[in-house]
């Protein structure tokens, strides 16, 4: 049966131009796919999208759709104009967790494509803003069939709603010399410890883990996650002086001064008369700039670990927040190290689940109660690395000062 095509004069204008067109792709499904269901669904979708373009309005509504045994992971979409666009009146998205670091074999992609072809619209995105594979467009019944099929061969749903969400990690150690931790391991250990909280939304609001292997933070973890794990190191960075000198001789001293020495945020670099580099490692803050400029000569040190920042989020409700340093440095080598990072996450999520208001992100709760109270609750001692500067206002009651000061010196003595 030939599809009665909706006219799409506005969308048609998105087929011209040199960048690949998603409209052309959707039309290919409408016109060339052997399955009538896919032809109908995509035609209907194009019809509704054209209607949105004409009226400048969206027409999807949420609802309640899930798979058996889970409370989340599906983004339900029911059309408000389903009477006119019948074949896509139910057009739900399945959020599926990608392999940590977004590595795929084409065989696995084809297997997913074959399943999606059976049960869905044929549209998919790698990946959504939270990091999920987004299988866009299945009706209510087929959501379960598609999930059953891909769940059998190793894929699970991500989070949706007030729950632990799908995590993200950079390519990291798999292909990057800046990597300072095992990003994939951190990613999977953390998020897979909370599968129950991923699948059954019961937290105040969303909670995201993101892992970047170095302070370049390719995963935008500091600003976009509640629990950011950033690889770093605490010994001296490595300098291959021969490579550095070769760089200076190739680029010239002025270039090196303008682009490396003077760009160090803590003035920790000196270009010596013999074109070698001296690094004042005590002043270095591991910003990554000089390593980025001369990756062949400059490398992270050997004593690697992670910095953990808590509470990043976007605008709703109190405005954008960056995560705050809560663990300045943590080794992730022994099994105990790995267990303790998971325990820290449990501690934080438990405290927030108990004390966060409805729809309040972890960072907003910290803003409300103050970082010091949060630290006390999760059993972490204050550290000057957690602040840009100490308090600037005297409006605070400080009759516990003496005990706090003694505690500080006792802790220092223990560590020495």
């Amino acid at each position: 049966m030939a599809v009665q095509k909706f006219d799409t004069p506005m969308l048609d204008q998105l087929e011209s131009g040199p960048w690949p067109s998603f409209i052309t792709g959707i039309k290919a499904l409408r016109d060339n796919h052997p399955d009538a269901k896919i032809n109908e669904m995509t035609n209907s979708l194009l019809g509704q999208l054209e209607h949105s373009y004409e009226t400048r309005k969206g027409y999807w509504k949420g609802g309640t759709v899930s798979v058996y045994g889970y409370g989340g992971g599906i983004i339900p979409r029911f059309s408000e104009v389903g009477h006119a666009f019948v074949a896509s009146k139910e057009f739900h998205t399945l959020r599926v967790q990608p392999p940590a670091g977004n590595h795929y074999s084409t065989g696995m992609l084809r297997q997913l494509a074959d399943s999606w072809e059976k049960w869905g619209s044929g549209l998919v995105t790698f990946h959504g803003q939270t990091g999920n594979i987004m299988f866009i467009g299945a009706d209510t019944e087929n959501v379960q069939h598609f999930f059953d099929e891909i769940n059998d061969y190793g894929w699970d749903l991500g989070g949706a709603g007030p729950c632990v969400r799908t995590a993200m990690s950079c390519v990291g150690a798999a292909r990057c010399e800046m990597s300072c931790t095992n990003e994939q391991k951190a990613h999977r250990l953390l998020v897979n410890n909370f599968t129950d909280d991923v699948h059954r939304p019961a937290l105040p609001y969303k909670f995201k883990f993101k892992i970047s292997g170095c302070p370049n933070d390719c995963q935008n973890a500091i600003e976009r996650s509640d629990f950011a794990v950033i690889g770093t190191w605490r010994d001296d960075m490595k300098v291959d002086q021969d490579e550095f000198k070769a760089y200076v001789s190739r680029k010239g001293r002025q270039h090196v001064v303008d682009n490396i020495i003077s760009r160090c945020p803590t003035q920790a670099l000196t270009l010596n008369d013999d074109d070698s580099l001296t690094v004042n490692n005590k002043d270095c803050v591991r910003c990554m700039h000089c390593l980025n400029v001369v990756p062949k000569a400059l490398h992270p040190g050997d004593d690697k670990g992670v910095t953990i920042l808590i509470g990043g989020k976007r605008t709703l409700k109190i405005g954008d927040l960056m995560g705050t340093v809560v663990v300045p440095f943590k080794k992730l080598e022994t099994e105990e190290d790995w267990e303790s990072i998971v325990e820290l996450a449990e501690e934080i999520i438990d405290f927030w689940a108990e004390n966060g208001l409805e729809h309040e992100r972890c960072g907003e709760m910290i803003e409300r109660i103050g970082l010091a109270n949060f630290l006390e609750a999760i059993g972490i001692d204050p550290d000057p690395n957690m602040v840009d500067s100490p308090r600037q206002c005297s409006y605070v009651r400080m009759d516990g000062w003496d005990e706090a000061a003694i505690e500080w010196f006792e802790k220092k003595a223990e560590q020495a």
């Binding site: 290919a28 940590a100 933070d217 990554m288 700039h289 709703l316």
Partner: protein, 358 residues
């Protein structure tokens, strides 16, 4: 379906990536030494073992139909060992271990209509949200905006002529999923929600909606004899936070939902701490199917940045050096009272010094 017939889910969570990882990446995991950038769109990583891997980065339409996905798999199998990596900005990366395979791979990708680039100092793929295609609260489309802009910016994706990398993001609402960007194009509503009082009581959990408002502008009310909600329009900041939990409080408007452009968001710690983006332009019409007004401003900002910034300066660093007065001059945008922040913490953004630019 009866309950006993239902299949219990296997709660396997996030899959192990090693099974899908290119073997050379698996072999040299954690043992990479350095990288080079042989040409735009191509990275060369060298391991301590001496192994080398070339990565070819490819821009796509992001919303992939199965034909495109399979075509990208075909290319991966024929030219790139059958492995694909996705970047955070939805670019595809093919990896090869033989330099001779790079050019044929690039040719295959380009012949199929995809775009090689997005590395180093390029304008890489715009990161985008769902929009009218699939979101329940959008005031605009996402894929269409990105397609329109990438058509205009494709040369900057293919080349690396910017002072540093440029990350552009879009967002179809004011509150949620779009990220920080060197340039961010986000919806900015300019009128309070229009309330359908007949529906509020049945559809919305009223206390939650009241609690959701960032400025406490919503209160319970009886309207036309029915329990509903009312908005103090003098307090309302038109953010749309009430709309998701209460769809009868329609915030989206064909005319009054505008686009705003923000600059200087930077996630990296390099040279400075991460920064949020700042408002530079608003009142831009939400104009499908190609949003030419927004694209024109983005291009102006990029041109000024390219012209004025020093090597390695991201947009935020460039502006920090030249100062906001010169920025507004360079991009020919007005500076208004709306640029002066009045949200919590706003004092930090005021100039409490005699540092004045002339």
């Amino acid at each position: 379906m009866a309950k006993q017939e239902m299949r219990e889910p296997i709660e396997s969570g996030c899959p192990d990536p090693f099974q899908y990882m290119h073997p050379v990446m698996r072999k040299n995991f954690g043992m990479w030494k350095y990288h080079e950038h042989p040409r735009p769109g191509v990275l060369l990583h060298v391991a301590y073992s001496g192994d080398k891997i070339w990565t070819v980065r490819v821009g796509t339409q992001r919303i992939l139909d199965l034909f495109s996905l399979r075509e990208l798999c075909d290319i991966g199998e024929k030219f790139a060992d059958g492995y694909i990596h996705f970047t955070i900005r939805s670019n595809i990366e093919y990896m090869v271990t033989d330099e001779a395979k790079v050019e044929p791979l690039i040719k295959a990708v380009e012949d199929a209509g995809y775009v090689v680039g997005g590395t180093q100092n390029s304008v890489t793929m715009l990161s985008h949200t769902q929009g009218w295609l699939h979101c329940d609260i959008p005031a605009t489309d996402a894929s269409g905006v990105v397609k329109s802009m990438m058509d205009e910016l494709i040369d900057e994706f293919r080349s690396t002529n910017m002072p540093n990398r440029v990350h552009i993001t879009t967002s179809c609402c004011q509150i949620n999923c779009g990220g920080q960007g060197d340039i961010a194009i986000n919806i900015q509503h300019t009128k309070p929600p229009k309330i359908n009082h007949d529906l509020v009581a049945n559809v919305c959990e009223r206390p939650s909606v009241v609690a959701r408002c960032p400025v406490a502008a919503i209160r319970p009310a009886i309207v036309n004899g029915k329990p509903s909600l009312e908005v103090d329009e003098k307090k309302c900041i038109c953010c749309g936070a009430c709309f998701p939990p209460c769809p009868p409080m329609q915030i989206n408007d064909a005319e009054f939902s505008k686009l705003a452009i923000w600059v200087g968001g930077n996630h990296s710690n390099a040279r400075g701490k991460p920064t949020f983006h700042k408002l530079v332009a608003a009142g831009i019409p939400n104009n499908p199917p190609r949003w030419p007004e927004a694209t024109a401003i983005v291009k102006r900002i990029l041109a000024a940045y390219k012209e004025g910034a020093r090597d390695w300066e991201r947009i935020n660093e460039w502006i920090e050096r030249i100062g906001w007065p010169r920025f507004f001059e360079a991009v020919e945008l007005p500076f208004t009272k709306y640029h002066i922040d009045n949200w919590r913490g706003a004092r930090k953004s005021l100039n409490a010094s005699t540092y004045i630019r002339f």
